[in-house]
Symmetry: C2
Subunit: 118 residues, 2 copies
């Protein structure tokens, strides 16, 4: 990331989260998806290069951890850290606004609890 644009917490959070894809990957982690393939099969169809970039950034910023689960080729399982789990109220607020104000939307997935995700 570049230098922060201001000390504003909203501005700083948006430097990290403010794009069309990052919070969708976080949403996927909250519904229990763990692997590259699972993220790619989400209905929005995230392009593979964007997915790789966002996972790298989220890990670098401490929102997710990765653990290898297979060698040759090496594959990783991703999970939310405490910093990532703390985004739950952000996702709920965005989902509620979407459900209330965008009539074509509907909730088809439920976020898992922190206990289920740890």
């Amino acid at each position: 990331m570049n230098a922060p644009r201001s000390p504003c917490p909203i501005s700083n959070a948006l430097d990290l989260l403010g794009d069309r894809w990052t919070l969708l990957v976080v949403r996927d982690l909250f519904v229990g998806k763990r692997t590259y393939g699972e993220f790619q099969r989400s209905p929005e169809g995230i392009p593979t290069n964007i997915l790789a970039d966002r996972l790298k950034r989220l890990e670098k910023q401490g929102l997710i951890d990765r653990t290898p689960y297979q060698d040759r080729p090496i594959r990783y399982r991703y999970s939310l850290t405490e910093k990532g789990l703390a985004l739950r109220p952000v996702l709920y607020a965005i989902a509620e606004w979407g459900l209330n104000w965008m009539p074509e939307t509907e909730a088809r997935m439920a976020l898992l609890t922190d206990e289920e995700l740890r």
Copy 2:
């Protein structure tokens, strides 16, 4: 906007709000800023073409209204609609996450109440 990527309320909301600037303009409206010049003087230094584009999109999507306050050249004052005011919990959630998890941030502005903004 293009066709929605999925019926997910988070995905749809991010189609509209998911970029580095849109929610900063919404934040500015929540702290009482009203004019093009006021938005531009915010510390993040929004580029003028991006500001014009985001105001147009927010108006088209029904989150803000504009009222002329000067002729030759015509100038507008912007304000949040009910749909825009309903983003308050989103801003609070993002601000709280930033304050808790990004140590270099600090809250220097307070959002006005809905009554003060109407």
